[in-house]
């Protein structure tokens, strides 16, 4: 029964998305590149989408599929919140995403990371890959860029990080994935969710750390040519 697996192994999706829990909440991160084939259709997309005041979702794969799934879940959660009389929990949001992903598994091509904070369980991250499996994890990565980050996270992830440590880890990771994955690029966006609320951050490409074989951006060659010569040494 497992003979078909090698022939149809899941293929990767454009994007790098990350969700990380820390001591008090969660940090969600993503790149901002949307591509149609080889062309970059949108170089500043917003891939971290709001579901409720306290729950956000990172989207990867088909832009249309992921947008529709989040739109439906936002709609259901809105009604659920009215009925419940208090903010929806992260678990409920994740399970609604799972329901849509699982029941339409033949038609959808989207991997999602649900992250948020609620008063019962605190900060939680749920991964919902292709097929509609629901997995609660302390951190998770997704999208085509994530292939380059498994080793990085195996080494760099630590339990009980602070908010700043967690955010720095996420920014570093997305930046490393952008460096190697053609389907990821642009800016790094992060969303931090905790008991105090939601903070959205923006890290433009030119403000990120440089990696191997990358050079400091210049305005022009002319600036390099006209740069003052180095001082002679005093031996």
């Amino acid at each position: 029964m497992d003979l078909n697996m090698n022939v149809n192994a899941p293929h990767s999706m454009g994007t790098t998305i990350i969700g990380v829990t820390y001591n008090g909440g969660v940090v969600l991160g993503a790149d901002s590149r949307t591509s149609t084939g080889m062309y970059v259709a949108n170089r500043a997309s917003e891939k971290i989408t709001q579901l409720t005041d306290n729950v956000y979702v990172c989207r990867s794969g088909s832009a249309a599929d992921s947008q529709l799934v989040s739109d439906y879940v936002r709609y259901f959660l809105h009604q659920h919140t009215i009925q419940l009389g208090q903010p929806a929990t992260v678990k409920v949001a994740a399970n609604l995403i799972r329901l849509l992903s699982y029941n339409n598994k033949n038609m959808l091509q989207t991997g999602l990371i649900v992250g948020g904070w609620d008063k019962y369980e605190g900060g939680k991250i749920y991964g919902i890959p292709l097929g509609g499996t629901l997995v609660e994890q302390p951190f998770t990565i997704g999208g085509s860029g994530s292939s380059y980050l498994y080793g990085f996270f195996d080494q760099a992830w630590k339990e009980g990080m602070t908010k700043d440590e967690a955010e720095q880890l996420v920014v570093k990771a997305v930046s490393l994935a952008i460096a190697r994955d053609g389907a990821s690029g642009g800016v790094v966006r992060t969303v931090i969710i905790n008991s105090e609320g939601v903070t959205r951050n923006f890290y433009p490409g030119d403000k990120l750390q440089l990696w191997h074989d990358e050079l400091e951006p210049q305005n022009s060659l002319l600036d390099i040519l006209n740069a003052p010569s180095p001082e002679p040494m005093n031996i």
């Binding site: 293929h11 990767s12 794969g61 832009a63 249309a64 097929g131 499996t133």
Partner: protein, 245 residues
């Protein structure tokens, strides 16, 4: 517009409505489950891996769960389908409890329900992509059975799914006997799991062993097995044939 080029449906001969009702292939999968009958009940072992194609993506997936008071279900194959089966079984056990008649579904009954579930889905060309192992004990009677994704079902003194059928069953055929002690049972399962670790690409070194007896079900904490690599032939594999590998 996509984040990446869209994939074509695999089977474009049938119309779009029929297409949406077939499971084409699994995405996140679990590998072998191995189980045996021992003196006091059933012992079952499975690793905690969830593979995504060839990537060992998830390393904390529990693939064995208690069902009611008397049964233990282990699954290999698509994890999302296993999660759905657990929901079906939740409903089954709930309704059984709501009768409040002192009776409760035993492993034989749960196995039969699962067989019908899997076979009926197979008939609609929309299978739940799992191989299941159902073990339990009720009123002193031990039961161990298996159901495949196409509805093939049978019971035996020891069963396995996937690679376990090829690697673990032969070991069990040689070394299993009636009335194994708990320690002997665990050691036998670990022998099987170690071979699977050496030879199954989708196995990971983090497993759990579950036990079900008349008293109830316990599942061990996740743990890892030691492996042996210090054969001289491993350290110098090309001594007798320089240039080979």
């Amino acid at each position: 517009m996509n984040f990446m080029a869209s994939k074509q449906p695999e089977n474009s001969l049938l119309g779009p409505e029929a297409d949406s009702q077939r499971t084409l292939y699994p995405n996140v999968t679990g590998t072998s489950v191995v189980a045996l009958k021992y003196k006091d009940g059933i012992l079952m072992a499975a690793d905690m891996g969830g593979s995504y194609g060839s990537t060992l993506r998830y390393k904390n997936v529990e693939r064995m769960k208690a069902i009611g008071k008397h049964s233990l279900l282990g699954a290999s194959g698509e994890i999302s389908d296993f999660q759905e089966i657990l929901r079906y079984l939740d409903d089954l056990i709930l309704y059984d409890n709501m009768w409040d008649d002192g009776n409760s579904l035993g492993p034989k009954e749960v196995h039969n329900y699962l067989t019908r579930l899997m076979y009926n889905r197979r008939n609609k060309f929309n299978p739940l992509w799992n191989s299941l192992v159902l073990g339990g004990i009720k009123n002193g009677e031990k039961y161990l059975g298996t159901v495949s994704m196409i509805g093939v079902n049978f019971e035996d003194d020891h069963v396995a799914t996937g690679f376990g059928n090829h690697l673990a069953r032969p070991i069990l055929r040689q070394e299993w006997h009636e009335n194994l002690s708990f320690e002997d049972g665990v050691r036998l399962l670990e022998k099987c799991m170690r071979v699977l670790l050496y030879r199954d690409r989708s196995a990971i070194n983090k497993l759990q062993i579950a036990k079900i007896t008349e008293e109830g079900m316990t599942i061990s904490q996740p743990y890892s097995l030691k492996t042996y690599w210090e054969f001289s032939a491993f350290e110098n594999p090309t001594q007798g044939a320089v240039g080979s590998w």
